[in-house]
């Protein structure tokens, strides 16, 4: 990690005026710490949040514990593919969330269907009836109301035909990747946060987004910027250090 922090000025002998403007801005540590704590709590890292409260001399909101733990449990259940548990826990926390957000509910049910299909097709001659039953009982009525849902359902059902297979089309392969679980879990987390307060998204996410927007807009307007604005962050050894260009659409 230590090698990832590169001094800004060392690399370039003559500084771009914009770089000097950047350097003139002095963020307050307390505020950055607040953003970090906000991230740890909203994205569900309770142990880290507790340690951070101690190390950075911050106060943990005292009745935060329940909420964060339930959210972590729900996240873990979705990540593990245990959608039934997740849905039950979501309803325990706030029974209205899924009722008021049909798209989210559908996404969860579809994830459950994918898991069913996965188990049903694990062996060559397994019984696919449970998956079919679940699809017609739970998803089909919802899909009838929304063409987007219908498309998603059709795509998901086609897994039944192709599985088990080594070479799925990319579109189908996506359905089996952990990324889908993760994005559904993120959406659930956001909905849970929104249901208990105004800000559904961690501040740092907004900051990342605002930075991307501002850079894009500024470049579009022809502002005088250095060709790249590195953060000095090495994401992983293979990614040679620059995440920034991955942030710009």
């Amino acid at each position: 990690m230590s090698s990832s922090t590169v001094s800004v000025s060392a690399a370039t002998p003559t500084q771009h005026p914009f770089q000097m403007k950047i350097d003139m801005i002095k963020p307050s540590k307390a505020e950055i710490n607040f953003v970090v704590m906000d991230y740890l709590i909203s994205e569900g890292y309770p142990r880290a949040a507790q340690k951070f409260a101690k190390e950075a001399n911050l106060q943990l909101p005292y009745d935060q514990q329940d909420g964060i733990h339930s959210r972590v449990e729900i996240r873990n259940a979705i990540h593990a593919g245990d959608i039934d548990t997740a849905i039950n826990k979501i309803n325990d926390m706030n029974p209205q969330i899924l009722d008021t957000d049909p798209a989210l509910h559908f996404a969860l049910l579809r994830l459950q269907l994918i898991e069913l299909i996965r188990t049903c097709t694990a062996t060559a001659n397994a019984d696919i009836t449970p998956a079919l039953n679940f699809a017609s009982a739970q998803l089909a009525p919802r899909a009838a109301t929304n063409s987007g849902f219908l498309k998603d359902l059709e795509l998901t059902m086609s897994l039944l035909i192709f599985l088990p297979s080594e070479n799925l089309q990319p579109q189908l392969d996506e359905l089996l990747k952990p990324g889908l679980r993760r994005s559904v879990a993120d959406r659930v987390n956001e909905a849970l946060l929104l249901s208990s307060n105004k800000r559904g998204e961690a501040r740092v996410r907004q900051l990342v987004r605002m930075r991307a927007w501002a850079e894009e807009t500024a470049r579009h307007q022809g502002k005088d910027l250095p060709p790249a604005l590195p953060l000095g962050l090495q994401v992983s050894p293979g990614a040679d250090g620059v995440m920034d260009d991955a942030m710009v659409p």
């Binding site: 801005i25 307390a30 991230y39 935060q64 307007q221 659409p249």
Partner: protein, 674 residues
Amino acid sequence: MFRRSSYASVAAGNAAGSGQQQNSGPTRSGAFSHLVNSSTGSQTSPVFYSNQARQHARPIDADGHHNSMSTSWGRGGPLPSYGSQAGYLNSYGVGAQDGTASSFFVPSYLRGSKYAEKLEEVHRARLATQRDYRSNHSSNAGSLSTSSSSVNLHKMAPSYRGMTHDIIERAPPFVDEPIAPWPTRWSDLDKYQQLEVEDGGRQAKYAGSQKSHDEAASVRADSPMPRQCGIYYYEVTVVSKGKDGRMIGVGFSGPKVPLTRIPGWEPESYAYHGDDGQSFSNTTSGKPYGPKFSTLDVIGCGINFRTGTAFFTKNGVYLGTAFRDLKTDRQYYPTVGMKKPGETLRANFGQEPFSYDIDAMVAAEKAAIMADISNIAIRPNPSRITDEKTFLHALVGQYLAHDGYVETARAFGEEVNDEARALANDGDVDVGYTEAEEDVDAINRQKIRAAILEGDIDKALKHTNAYYPSVLRDNENIYFKLRCRKFIEMIRRCNELNAQCHPPTPPSKRSTASNGFSNSANTDDYDFEMELDEQLGVHNGAPQLNIDSMDTEDELEDKEAKLSELTDETIRYGQDLKKEFAHDPRREVKRALEDTFALIAYETASNSPLASLLETGGRVPVAEELNSAILVSLGKSSSAALERLYQQTEALVSELAEDGGPGSFINVRRDILL
């Protein structure tokens, strides 16, 4: 933590039920309450204007303006918020010689904007300079009174978490370039000669003779409409339309447009005329635009610099876009023109509430931009394996490691890995976050930080000198701050001991406090516990009071001895400190010394106006500054990627604000960090 929460919920019934109570307690505990409560108003922004409004205005604000406060203070509500009304209070009846300094006001729609913050900083700096001048030039200004007033001034900008701003720890605001002010009055110079400017520049009256058809008398405001506003807006009330005419024009013009013509008829001038309701841009032929206007009508004029358009309002009603494609490189001054003797116009540049809800327009503009921002896709670059989530993990993880939060970094790494493992059902998926390798430096830095945060400055100094001997040598200002902080910590300890020796006798007021318990209890767990203790004290303490005091008499003597010893020690240390830095020419050093020493003057400093100096929150900036200095001395970047992310965002947004672009509507710190 658990214990408190259960107490609170039992005693207070629906403990976290209503958000507004969050606001009346010490604010720090409410800092994360947005994650807890559904209707918190606790995003309350600091009240900038007056000292006396500072503590008291906050709960009022939150109660009165629950909805509007969450976006920015007072914005969006039809009435100005109470806290900000202090801004108006200052603007009247001020002596002319002091006029510029004390008539500072912020138009309602600019409150909370970056631009307004910058101008406020300039204003405060100017006041501070004046104060310095005064105190240096008046022979009998006691050091006590000047320094306490300086503290009050600094307290004008409190963080709502109460930990960032401190007179000693915080560098004076750095003003890099002159910031254009907004218009405040009609110009005494830039006007037609026979036009009279009255009432501190607010009113313009034509005192000449009747004008011919071509001619008119015009006046411009003292400053151009600043582009940094994004949207600039002012209003004019027709006080009197004069004898038999209403040839009045309201609009804006460039600095060189002749003032003998009604605005709108000359190149680079734009206006809405009262006699025919037409809009005029750069020419004598108008276009049908709105209704006619006359005596007692309120006409508003605004420019949206982002879209390059201008609009007018009449009596609070929006009349639509009047002009498009305004040039982006010109300066436009608010301008009015009239023709008939006695015609009188009164301007409102934001000193008073506007009749049109301009705040809502600005808020809507901002909301649209924020929606653009939240819609931006952070698409992972296909050639790289990273996505937003991995990126955030790395960002936060690197910050924790960089800043020496060793334990947190470890716990975070574990949790992220757990998460990744749970997700990777087959167990072969790349675990995105690799735990930061811990180095000795991180642990040392953590030790030093912990020492400062505990108030043990000596330990921090010892460790720093042992591990990083060059740091304090090279960073004398940090050394000075540490020394000052140590002095403050000593005073703190004196205070604590003093309080133990002379416990404040519980007056009857206290018992009323615990009667009013159900109202105030769930404001803050700390308060709550205090009151709980008091209740217990009332229960058990009263009958045994005598025995108790007998038992502790020895102890008390002991404590008093300790106190006087500590006091002596503190004073000795203070003298040393003064000796060491007395001849330091730097202003901030002088002021810091002054303020710190003023603390001794109070027997119970915790009740003094300087109490904020004693807050433990003041330790944080010192600790962070030292940590940064150590990092620099190790050849590492002083800021982590997360900080650079913030810096870049702020710089980019301000780049987008200079010309009145979308950045004008964004205040990164206030919109995201607070």
